[in-house]
């Protein structure tokens, strides 16, 4: 179809002369969006006049994008008069109703921080300081460098708390390399989308436009999700809606069909899967009838999905970062999912799960974590014996460098940590949030860096430091594949400083001037960029197109056959057995069950007959941020709703907007009802991150033994009609 043709790409926004405009010239600037805490970021090109940003739009030609609702709202966030602009120190003792924060100078803030860090190192050792990066991920590399230079192995992040790492652990245990799967390529015949809704959470990967295109060219879609998401509505040829937490049983049932009908890739199974016989034997116990009973998915649908996925070769897999790991069988549920494409031989083949041939040299993992040589990863690994999670989560501690944070409560109680330095700290990430608030409050010293004062986190710390926002930051630059992009920030408002600068200046004042470049952010970036013979000035000179570092070898597939898949150059996958491990030798070594077994989720009861899903997103909100941050977005949903199937709503006499209490054995909150067929019968969903109605207070601290993840998507609950004036919502303190 011949679409509307613009007059030409050369017509740009700056061309619009506005008679009313001031005499200061308009200029383009370039930055990235930190709206959903995805890295790589989406690109933003903005218009500014004298440092005042007046317009944002997608960065033309940038690999991630276009920007979503949150990206547009960064403009309003930037000029929100409520943002933090000066360092703050509390004047009232911890536990006081009002912390009494007062403005201080950066000098006083740094003197305070450095004083505590030096004292604690002397008194208890450096391991007693916990370094944390929440949302955004951007400060990670600089904060790791600070932690390891100071000498603490105890660095963690939101990914090692509730997000990506449990799935990544499953991937490393099973495949030996991290992957969230791949978008369908030209060769793909069928796509298995399991536990992810990129329409809401994956805009950076341009997922939905690409998926809708794939659908139009004939790719078949199997979407596995308890909810009736937009992915289901617009893409699914087959929708499987398992009871939350039963993914391993569903995967076992699909594999049993595949094996019994001879649809597996027999060569791949024989040559490249460790424990294939044990796996066959295990899944043999999952008849279609039993799978239907365990998962609630009709036997015919399981059978049809298995036949479609294994029969229409090749197939790709797309998983989410945490949709399948918010339960007490997190790691094995996700491992079971990963085995479905593996037995079909869809690993590192065209149209299947792609593994990059030429990741940028020196990265050693995802860009968000920074290059190991800069971040001090070797030092961190050398300190492994001092990690606080080593005894509780040994498989995790063996494979992931970030510390699993869910035992923070115990570490504080037992005196193992004395201080907490957090960038983008949000206590609502933890199940039983109030316990973590008390743990942080009990420490000898704590600080947080953020854009806004967030009472549910900052009421419990000693110092709050104001961070520069995305339009005001230089670091980090962006890496997409082998292309590197810089940014051209405007000056920060007030006394805001960018995250990296704060980490570097603390390091500088601890006495490591050279290691922290005298606090110079651009010098720190240049230290990384020299890995590829680049510097920031070169990025600025090539701002819109970036710099692509040439690949040193041709693209390859089936790299496991060619010795291109392991650091030692031998054939196979980067696991201990050099094969994909259905039977995990690492789990076996640490005393866990080694097959990806099903485990029955927490039982519903007459008192708590519904399963609660915490952690699903709205497309324009990520976690707790973006509500007060950008009033445009708060206006779209002013208060929390619980999504409930219309039939479950009818049996409870609930209509849209009715006030309800959502109650589990661990807590209760008051919200409003939203009957919707988004939810299946028997399952309700509530967006996390509402300070007055924090759904994670309803989730127990009862963890998956391998990953330590809590049951955010497994906990039984009930929804009860409540009076409109049933009293005030609780404050930010659970006991408040």
């Amino acid at each position: 179809m011949s679409k509307f043709e613009p007059a030409g790409d050369s017509v740009d926004y700056l061309g619009q002369a506005e008679a009313a405009m001031s005499e200061v010239a308009e200029e383009y600037g370039y930055t990235f969006c930190d709206g959903c805490n995805e890295v790589p970021f989406c690109g933003i090109r903005f218009v500014h006049r004298g440092g005042v940003v007046t317009k944002v739009e997608p960065w033309p030609g940038f690999p991630a994008g276009p920007i979503c609702s949150k990206g547009y709202a960064t403009l309003q966030r930037l000029y929100n008069p409520d943002r933090l602009k000066f360092p703050l120190r509390r004047t009232q003792p911890k536990g006081a109703r009002e912390p009494g924060f007062t403005r201080i100078s950066w000098e006083e803030a740094y003197d305070t921080i450095v004083g505590h860090l030096l004292r604690i190192k002397e008194q208890y050792g450096p391991q007693a300081v916990f370094f944390y990066v929440g949302d955004p991920k951007e400060p990670r590399a600089a904060v790791q460098r600070l932690a390891t230079t100071y000498g603490s192995a105890n660095y963690g992040c939101e990914s090692s708390t509730a997000c990506r790492r449990a799935a990544q652990l499953a991937e490393l245990l099973t495949y030996g390399f991290p992957t969230l799967g791949s978008l369908p390529s030209a060769e793909t015949k069928v796509a298995l989308v399991w536990g992810t809704n990129p329409a809401y959470s994956g805009q950076p990967y341009m997922c939905h436009g690409a998926l809708a295109d794939a659908k139009q060219r004939g790719v078949k879609f199997i979407v596995v999700d308890p909810r009736n998401t937009p992915m289901v509505g617009t893409l699914a040829d087959i929708h499987l809606a398992p009871r939350p937490g039963t993914d391993a049983a569903l995967a076992a049932g699909m594999m049993r069909v595949i094996f019994s009908e001879g649809l597996e890739d027999q060569d791949f199974c024989a040559n490249w899967i460790h424990g294939i016989d044990e796996l066959r034997s295990y899944v043999d116990g999952f008849s279609l009838e039993r799978v239907e009973q365990l998962t609630g998915v009709p036997a015919a649908s399981v059978e049809a999905a298995a036949r479609l996925f294994a029969g229409e070769r090749p197939g790709c897999l797309m998983t989410g970062s945490q949709g399948t790991t918010h339960n007490r069988n997190a790691t094995n549920n996700h491992r079971a999912i990963l085995m479905v494409p593996a037995v079909c031989g869809y690993i590192d083949v065209p149209g299947g799960i792609q593994k990059p041939t030429n990741p940028l040299e020196g990265m050693g993992g995802v860009w968000a974590d920074g290059p190991p040589v800069f971040s001090g990863r070797e030092t961190l690994l050398g300190l492994r014996e001092q990690r606080l999670d080593r005894d509780e989560f040994p498989a995790w501690a063996e494979l992931l460098f970030e510390v699993e944070t869910n035992h923070l409560v115990e570490w504080a109680r037992e005196g193992k940590i004395k201080a907490f330095l957090g960038w983008g700290l949000n206590t609502m990430i933890w199940a039983q949030t109030s316990e973590y608030q008390k743990a942080i409050e009990s420490l000898e010293f704590s600080m947080a860096v953020d854009y806004f004062y967030r009472p549910w986190s900052h009421d419990f710390v000693d110092l709050v430091l104001p961070a520069a926002m995305n339009f005001e930051r230089k670091a980090p630059f962006a890496v997409h594949g082998r292309t590197v992009y810089g940014r051209t920030p405007v000056p920060p408002q007030g006394e805001c400083r960018e995250d990296w600068q704060i980490a570097l200046e603390i390091g500088d004042r601890l006495g490591y001037e050279d290691t922290f470049f005298g606090g110079d952010v651009e010098a720190a970036c240049d230290d990384i960029l020299k890995l590829w013979n680049l510097d920031y000035e070169t990025l600025r000179n090539n701002i819109e197109i970036g710099i692509t570092v040439p690949a040193q070898r041709p693209e390859a597939v089936r790299k496991h056959e060619k010795g291109l898949n392991r650091p030692d150059g031998k054939p196979g996958f980067p696991t201990p057995t050099a094969k994909i491990e259905a039977f995990s030798t690492v789990l076996d070594k640490h005393g866990y069950r080694a097959l990806p077994e099903h485990q029955e989720p927490m039982a519903i009861s007459e008192e708590y007959p519904l399963v609660l899903l915490s952690g699903s997103r709205l497309p324009y909100i990520t976690h707790s941020k973006w509500r007060e941050d950008a009033p445009w977005l708060l206006e779209l949903q002013k208060e929390p709703f619980v999504d409930i199937h219309p039939e479950d709503a009818r049996t409870r006499g609930l209509a849209y907007g009715d006030p309800v209490t959502v109650r589990s054995a661990w807590g209760e909150i008051r919200v409003r009802a939203k009957p919707t067929i988004m939810m299946p019968r028997g399952v309700v969903g509530l967006m996390h991150g509402w300070a007055g109605a924090n759904v994670n207070e309803l989730i127990p601290r009862d963890f998956d033994p391998i990953s330590g993840y809590p049951p955010f998507k497994e906990t039984p609950c009930e929804v009860l009609k409540t009076d409109e004036d049933a009293g005030e919502q609780k404050g930010v303190r659970a006991d408040g």
Binding site: S2, G15, M21, Y72, L75, Q203, H208, A212, L636, Q637
Partner: protein, 221 residues
């Protein structure tokens, strides 16, 4: 002459709200004013949720224009229907007349009243299309300011799902395109010849049209 419209493919829309916010950012409408909305329409019978991008339909025969006693509403030669803020006296006849219920009155409220507007430079420094006088009728302008420099409306250009196509209905290659021919307007009592039309998911067209008429509310809660 061009005659502009939008074809919305409801099989591609996922309700991500990007168009709602790209419109807000482009036009800086005041609090509570959402020219571009996403309606959530649920078919329990077919177990399908459909998201509907909903805004001024830029009718060829706009009832709002006919209703205005001050001739404040006009249709440009390219079909874009606009309110002349200087002529609008706040009579609200257009609000009543609009069969799609998409015209609102600009409120007094501002997002950051203590800052004297939205951007630090002050509202007076903003482009005219971003200024909205309280008490005047307000609706989607099809981003005329972008059309005039050869760009597409912000909602269309920013859609991550490519669910919208900006079309010139006077271009025969376009007006006879199968997806344009297949698209239909939302139901109303009057045939105002809307230029925003929809490709409905199979077997759901009638139910969607009915529900949009019954209860058009913005996705949010």
């Amino acid at each position: 002459m061009a005659r502009y419209g939008i074809v919305v493919d409801l099989d591609r829309c996922v309700g991500c709200m990007t168009c709602v916010l790209s419109c807000k950012e482009e036009n800086l409408t005041r609090p509570g004013v959402w020219w571009n909305q996403i309606l959530q329409v649920e078919s329990e019978a077919q177990d399908r949720i459909v998201y509907v991008r909903y805004a001024c339909m830029h009718c060829d025969e706009p009832p709002c224009m006919a209703a205005c006693p001050n001739e404040a509403i006009y249709r440009r030669p390219d079909g874009v229907v606009l309110v002349d803020q200087n002529k609008c006296a706040g009579v609200q006849a257009c609000v009543e007349a609009c069969p799609y219920d998409v015209i609102v009155m600009t409120p007094d409220a501002e997002y950051f009243p203590e800052e004297g507007g939205f951007l630090p430079a002050g509202e007076e420094a903003l482009a005219p299309y971003r200024q909205h006088q309280p008490g005047k009728a307000s609706m989607c302008t099809l981003c005329y300011q972008r059309i005039d420099v050869g760009r597409q409306p912000a909602c269309v250009e920013g859609c991550p799902s490519k669910a919208m196509t900006f079309v010139d209905l006077d271009d025969h290659a376009i007006s006879e395109d199968p997806s344009v021919l297949r698209s239909q307007p939302m139901d109303t009592d009057v045939n105002s010849k809307p230029k925003v039309t929809y490709v409905f998911p199979e077997r759901l067209g009638d139910e969607i049209k009915k529900k949009v008429r019954e209860n058009p509310y913005m996705l949010g809660g």
